[in-house]
């Protein structure tokens, strides 16, 4: 099957070899040459010295999913590399560069049909002062990708400057030696010349984009507890919130994190926390409190393999049920899901906006694939999604915090506002916030909280709806990129397929969904969940026209465009 244009490289190594560093430099150099790119990484369980793989896909268009196959694999060593076999699919067109001293080639890789070449990277490095094998590997990669030496050096100078001139010199020597060693090997891509600096493009990870989107949306307080794979959001927010006058507090656990977030919001500051599945489970009670007491908060869940401790370093889409159904009682709230690294920024910003306007918690379902990947993206537009909470000022007389009204949104008095005193409560309450067990009051407030979400106009942003055709692919989150690519390959073969990827998962949008699928007779649901959570969610809340098929599997392996393409083909015969 023909692969879409582009090239995929993997660099692997263990024991502190520096594979990830090389991968990052390569991505930066390639993007500097005008490529679009996506770097994901795979690691062993060790904190340091483990086996690591930098997986890079480059293309002339924005990259949002993994390739079907890798063109080039450079293995600084083969120790424990069997772990990466299924993540680095190879074929007869692939080139594998290994080190004769690197250990045994994993059987799966040896049997892939790829051409195997040996370059003594370790020995070459040893011969250079402060030489490192990963720089040799980088030199090889750069040469085979057609990246100019000067471009590679520019990245080196920028990134290693703080390590001193000796380090820079050693790296330059390593790069040159690597380029030389790769002479005679077939190029994986056409040579490109370096382009002028392009500040319209960014290199950013999903987690960084999430943090930036939060700040753009107005977040100025975050309380959080570290957890893989969300920790980088916190690492980015801590200094950057401080720069804009905000603050991040590390709490003692997730229970404290989410409650502090609520406290910050109660005082008037847009507030956020970020976690992963196990943390979200802990936070659910407090998210219910925020729902009942109508407090705006954003909770980012960077989904990872589950259940329970699961596979912390891998991606999955199986927290959907928890996010939409996890709260006890009837507690409608917002659930959103970004679809790519770039979308992490926009969707998080939108989540802040919605949470503030609707005085509701918003759960943002990101995932490890997007969160910990770095991608070249177009500089995001300055979208005016800044949260505007309805505030009660100049209160004369009878203030009712939870007053019923047309929109369901009631104004909030911030502490310090005279006359606005009320006690926010998780207990069912009257319009004045007084606890009650009355059937009428309970219903009235349940209606209010449901209606404020359902009556709001979310606009086109609620989903990406593309193309036309009687076959519709319905997916969400990080699988959107793979689905889009699968569809474009099918379209090139004359198969008309449409894509529907909701960004707003809750509250559901039945009318808009029905419009999007009008005329469709076959629905292919694609998701990364063992229990097909998304499919069942769609079944519960939406009309699915015609026949439905579900292509689902759990993590840890990404669902690739080629697989989606094959499913579409099979159903279009």
């Amino acid at each position: 099957m023909k692969q879409a244009p582009g090239v995929s490289i993997a660099i692997i190594g263990s024991g502190g070899a520096g594979a990830l560093t090389s991968g990052n430099f390569l991505l930066e150099a390639a993007c500097g040459a005008g490529w679009h790119g996506l770097l994901t990484r795979s690691v062993g369980p060790q904190i340091r010295g483990g086996e690591a793989a930098a997986l890079i896909r480059l293309a002339q268009h924005p990259v949002e999913c993994a390739a079907d196959r890798f063109d080039l694999l450079i293995a600084i060593d083969w120790l424990n590399a069997g772990r990466f076999e299924s993540e680095i699919p190879l074929g007869p067109q692939s080139l594998v560069v290994g080190d004769p001293e690197g250990g045994a080639v994993p059987p799966g890789i040896a049997a892939s049909g790829a051409r195997l070449v040996e370059i003594p990277m370790k020995a070459i490095a040893k011969a250079l002062p402060e030489g490192r094998a990963n720089m040799i590997a980088l030199g090889i990669a750069g040469k085979l990708l057609g990246l100019g030496a000067d471009l590679m050096l520019e990245v080196m100078n920028k990134r290693l400057a703080e390590k001193g001139s000796a380090a820079v010199a050693a790296s330059r020597a390593g790069l040159e030696a690597g380029r030389k060693a790769a002479a005679g090997l077939p190029l994986a891509a056409e040579p490109t010349s370096s382009k002028p600096r392009d500040t319209r493009r960014w290199l950013i990870s999903g987690n960084e984009a999430t943090g930036l989107g939060a700040i753009r949306g107005g977040i100025r307080f975050a309380a959080a507890y570290p957890i893989t794979p969300a920790t980088e959001i916190l690492e980015w927010l801590a200094p950057n919130l401080a720069k804009v006058g905000g603050v991040l507090v590390q709490a003692e656990d997730e229970l404290a994190s989410v409650n502090m977030t609520i406290g910050g919001s109660y005082g008037g500051t847009p507030s956020l926390t970020a976690t992963s599945g196990p943390g979200l489970s802990l936070m659910i009670e407090a998210i219910g409190l925020a729902t009942a007491s109508e407090i705006s908060i954003v909770v980012v869940d960077v989904m990872r393999g589950g259940p329970s401790t699961g596979i912390p370093t891998k991606s999955e889409q199986a927290d959907l049920n928890l996010a939409v159904y996890g709260l006890h009682g009837d507690a409608p709230h917002l659930v959103l899901a970004p679809q790519s690294v770039a979308d992490c920024l926009i969707t998080t910003q939108w989540a802040v906006f919605l949470a503030e306007v609707l005085q509701s918690p918003a759960i943002v379902l990101s995932d490890q694939f997007m969160g910990q990947s770095r991608a070249a993206i177009e500089r995001p537009a300055d979208v005016a999604f800044i949260g505007q909470r309805a505030r009660a000022n100049d209160i004369n007389g009878d203030y009712r915090r939870y007053a019923l009204g047309a929109t369901g949104v009631s104004s909030m008095a911030l502490p310090g506002t005279p006359g606005g005193q009320y006690t926010a409560d998780g207990l069912t309450h009257t319009e004045r916030g007084v606890p009650t067990g009355s059937a009428a009051e309970h219903c009235a407030q349940l209606d209010k909280r449901r209606d404020k979400l359902e009556h709001f106009s979310y606009g086109d942003h609620w989903a990406n709806i593309e193309g036309d055709g009687y076959l519709a692919v319905v997916t969400w989150g990080s699988l959107t990129g793979a689905a889009r690519e699968a569809i474009s390959r099918a379209r090139a073969e004359g198969i008309a397929v449409r894509l529907l990827a909701p960004r707003l998962l809750a509250p559901v949008q039945p009318a808009a969904f029905a419009r999007a699928l009008e005329g469709a007779r076959r629905v292919l649901v694609v998701e990364q969940s063992h229990g097909a959570q998304f499919y069942r969610y769609l079944r519960a809340h939406y009309e699915l026209p015609g026949e439905v098929r579900v292509f689902h599997r759990p993590g840890p392996l990404p669902i690739r465009a080629g697989e989606g393409h094959q499913e579409i083909r099979n159903w279009s015969a």
């Binding site: 930066e28 993007c31 500097g32 600096r197 500040t199 493009r201 960014w202 290199l203 960084e208 930036l212 700040i215 307080f221 309380a223 950057n240 401080a242 720069k243 804009v244 006058g245 905000g246 603050v247 507090v249 709490a251 003692e252 656990d253 229970l255 404290a256 409650n259 502090m260 977030t261 609520i262 406290g263 910050g264 919001s265 005082g267 008037g268 500051t269 507030s271 009670e285 407090a286 219910g288 409190l289 007491s293 070249a376 500089r379 008095a413 502490p415 310090g416 506002t417 005279p418 006359g419 606005g420 005193q421 009320y422 006690t423 926010a424 409560d425 998780g426 207990l427 007084v434 606890p435």
Partner: protein, 278 residues
């Protein structure tokens, strides 16, 4: 309004809402409410500048009985709610109200870290050595031989020393009060609120319904035999040998309160975005 105008002479009644407490007649918490309102009146802060944050339990009902801003949160998490509020609104006077169940059991972890964090707030635990709201189970401060339905014959577990824990965790002010002496309690609360950093006040508050034996407390409490110390070591020795009935301020520390920088921007969004530019 100037500070002087804001601190006009106020009466305790100004701080009371018109919601009638549902605590059992005879409950110590009625006195504690008097102490709260009396203390607030003495401090002179306008009611809208005070936030009373609570968890779940009989004691946690108190915010709605005051005329201040309040938050009746979920069980055990009042200190976290309060921390988020205080960090972002250092202008407010934040008082946290809890009970021995909410504060020492489910809230135990947050108790340790709140003392350690030392934000400028006051934590009041109304200790009645029982879970009142759920009908009488033992709490972490209940005596080992106290017979209950869930622990027939008593738990057999030693109660722990909340004041020692507070001190060891870094609380900057540790006091014990007795609800029955509501004016002395008010005075301790004023001191606690004025003292910078995390102030912990445990108030013994008899439960008339599930611990009628606690009626005796009024004959057992005594003024602490020595004045408050600022030496944590000395305070630790005193508190470890304390029989639980010494009333007064026991420790007054000099730790600098934690007040993270908030509200002062030194860069704009464009500066943040520069690091991503290719």
């Amino acid at each position: 309004m100037s500070t002087a105008e804001m601190r006009q002479v106020r009466r305790p009644g100004d701080y009371r809402s018109d919601v009638k407490p549902v605590w059992c007649p005879g409950c110590g918490d009625h006195h504690i409410l008097l102490s709260f309102t009396r203390a607030f009146a003495e401090l002179g802060e306008p009611p809208e500048n005070i936030a009373v944050i609570s968890g779940i339990g009989c004691s946690s009902r108190i915010p709605a009985y005051t005329n201040c801003y309040g938050f009746h949160g979920v069980h055990g998490r009042s200190l976290a709610l309060a921390a988020g509020l205080k960090v972002t609104r250092p202008d407010l006077t934040v008082v946290v109200a809890s009970g021995d169940g909410d504060g020492y059991s489910i809230g135990g972890n947050h108790f340790l870290h709140a003392c350690r964090r030392n934000l400028d707030m006051t934590y009041v635990v109304m200790d009645n050595r029982v879970y009142g709201m759920t009908k009488g189970q033992p709490s972490p401060t209940t005596e080992p031989d106290f017979d209950t339905a869930l622990s027939p014959g008593g738990t057999g577990l030693s109660p722990f020393h909340p004041l020692v824990i507070a001190l060891a965790s870094g609380a900057n002010f540790v006091a014990r009060a007795f609800s029955g002496e509501h004016k002395e309690t008010a005075s301790i609360l004023v001191d606690a609120i004025r003292h910078p950093g995390f102030s912990f006040v445990e108030i013994l508050s008899p439960c008339v319904t599930f611990r009628p034996d606690e009626r005796q407390w009024k004959t057992m409490v005594r003024p602490a035999p020595v004045a408050a110390t600022d030496d944590p070591g000395r305070a630790a020795r005193r508190l470890m040998t304390d029989d639980g009935f010494n009333i007064g301020i026991l420790y007054r520390g000099a730790r600098k309160p934690y007040r993270p920088e908030f509200g002062r921007a030194t860069a704009d969004l464009a500066a943040l975005e520069k690091e991503f530019e290719l």
